[in-house]
């Protein structure tokens, strides 16, 4: 079997294994959150309902994406070593980096399917709510001029689906994929999955503060040298996860400029590539 075929086989196997671990049960919680939110918000104006539905749904997608990425990636190396499957695979002519690549691709597939399912559920609820509000609006405007009805309908549709939600969802996936590759890098150092999970969670929070530390460091304000050194260390060692937080502003109605979206995607891919390469470097010399 050639290397792409091997990678694909490992990826498929990883995906199947994760699905068998009933990972998708989290979708029930997501569905409860989205549908419950939608029902509970009935007392608000339709603009408020849609805004909060987007806030909660995209926020939950980001949380679930990050949790799946960290937990699924942190577990696979220790589990494969415990089950001894890693020895069976690496005893065959499978380079170590291909094994890691296959595993990572499997996790990316799981993330993609999860985020697609969550997006489909979110958009379906949004669409159903839009239909209900449109019917109510038309009923209220009986006897109004066609222009008035068209303006009211436009107001409702503008508050619901916005094409910018798509780049927002893409960036959520990218951030989860970046977290997966960062966790993979950590797991090549670690000896237990708990250590990896704790470290990855800590890095998640530090990564969101990286841009603040960078600003502080580069602003050159007159503070103690060790304080600036710490800021420099944080800026250089950790990824800038705040760069992937476009959804907060997208939900608020802001349009993402193409250059900003492309730059964010490029940065995400670069981080994934670098963390994967470093994982492969460390894993290639690891005693198994």
């Amino acid at each position: 079997m050639k290397l792409p075929g091997v990678t694909l086989a490992i990826a498929r196997n990883t995906f199947t294994e994760l699905v068998r671990q009933k990972v998708f049960y989290f979708l029930l919680i997501f569905a409860l959150l989205v549908i419950g939110n939608s029902a509970f918000m009935a007392k608000f104006s339709f603009q408020e309902q849609f805004q909060m539905l987007k806030d909660i749904s995209l926020g939950a997608m980001s949380v679930f994406g990050s949790i799946i990425a960290i937990l699924a990636t942190a577990n696979f190396l220790p589990k494969d070593m415990e089950d001894r499957t890693i020895y069976t695979i690496l005893a065959k002519p499978v380079p170590r980096f291909i094994y890691l690549l296959g595993k990572l691709c499997g996790i990316f597939s799981l993330l993609a399917v999860s985020i697609l399912l969550m997006s489909a559920l979110f958009l379906a609820v949004l669409w159903i709510r839009e239909g209900t509000v449109l019917a109510e609006t038309r009923a209220q405007l009986q006897g109004a001029t066609p222009e008035e009805i068209a303006a009211a309908v436009r107001e409702v549709t503008n508050a619901t689906f916005n094409i910018n939600l798509i780049p927002g969802i893409v960036v959520i996936f990218l951030k989860s994929a970046l977290l997966a590759s960062l966790t993979l890098f950590l797991s090549t150092f670690a000896t237990s999955s708990i250590f990896t999970i704790l470290m990855a969670t800590a890095l998640y929070f530090i990564g969101h503060l990286q841009s603040t530390a960078r600003e502080y460091w580069l602003a050159g304000v007159d503070v103690q040298w060790w304080s600036r050194l710490l800021a420099a260390l944080v800026s250089l060692l950790f990824p800038d996860l705040q760069a992937f937080n476009l959804t907060d502003d997208i939900i608020a109605g802001a349009a993402v400029p193409l250059a900003l979206f492309a730059g964010t995607v490029g940065l995400g891919l670069l981080y994934i590539l670098v963390y994967f390469s470093l994982s492969a470097l460390v894993f290639s010399g690891r005693e198994l």
Partner: protein
Amino acid sequence: MNWRKTSALALVFLFGAAILPVQIRLDTEARAAHFRKTALDLNLRERIGQAGFLAALSGFRSPLAAILWIQAHTAWENTEWGRMAGIFDTVTTLQPRSILYWDMSAWHMAWNAAVAAMQNEKQPSEALRIRAQREYFRIGRDFLERGILNNPDSYQLRVQLGIVLRDKFEDHCAAAEAFLKAAAIPDAPSYCARFAGYELAKCPGREREAYAHLRRLYLQGDSQRLPSLINLLRDMEKRLDIPQAERIDSPTQPDKN
């Protein structure tokens, strides 16, 4: 630590240094597009608590804002106007790009809270009730002005500011300016320009400018020829003593059809 681990850590550092200009450029681009303008400072930390601040720092500003908005709604149901103002302040700080939050916060303050303050039976002094009402007008206007600073490309907030200035402050000149600025935004609806004309007509010393503005709108065709606009134009023609031949009803007017 073997050499691979050491080199990996060194490479992380080098990559961090190499990627720095890209990160700075992206950050500048994001801010230019009005993204990531939230000021996550100690003031916000005090208002939302440690857990909320951690959530805001971790990229969950919008869900946090939604939860606080629900709290504000509960405060509204209990007519806790002061608490509502505080929550609105936090929500708009968390989501400065949400026009809805600025608009609704201003509406609650300038309309609901102001009316409630004026009808407050617990306050026997009318002077104090009026003062409280004016304070809520001011808070409402303040929300809109800060909203406009954060969303300079939105016509909605400028229209709402014009309405507050017109109906609550009765400052027709300032209201006209707000409507004119709203009308200048590319996707602004046609009523913004009409509202600007109506307010200019009430602004002392700017009647001629108002007439010219309204006449320009009238010449744009049927979409702007609403009864209010036509009646106001006729009234101004009389007040400004416009020559008969130049009046909109004159049969010599080229647009008469």
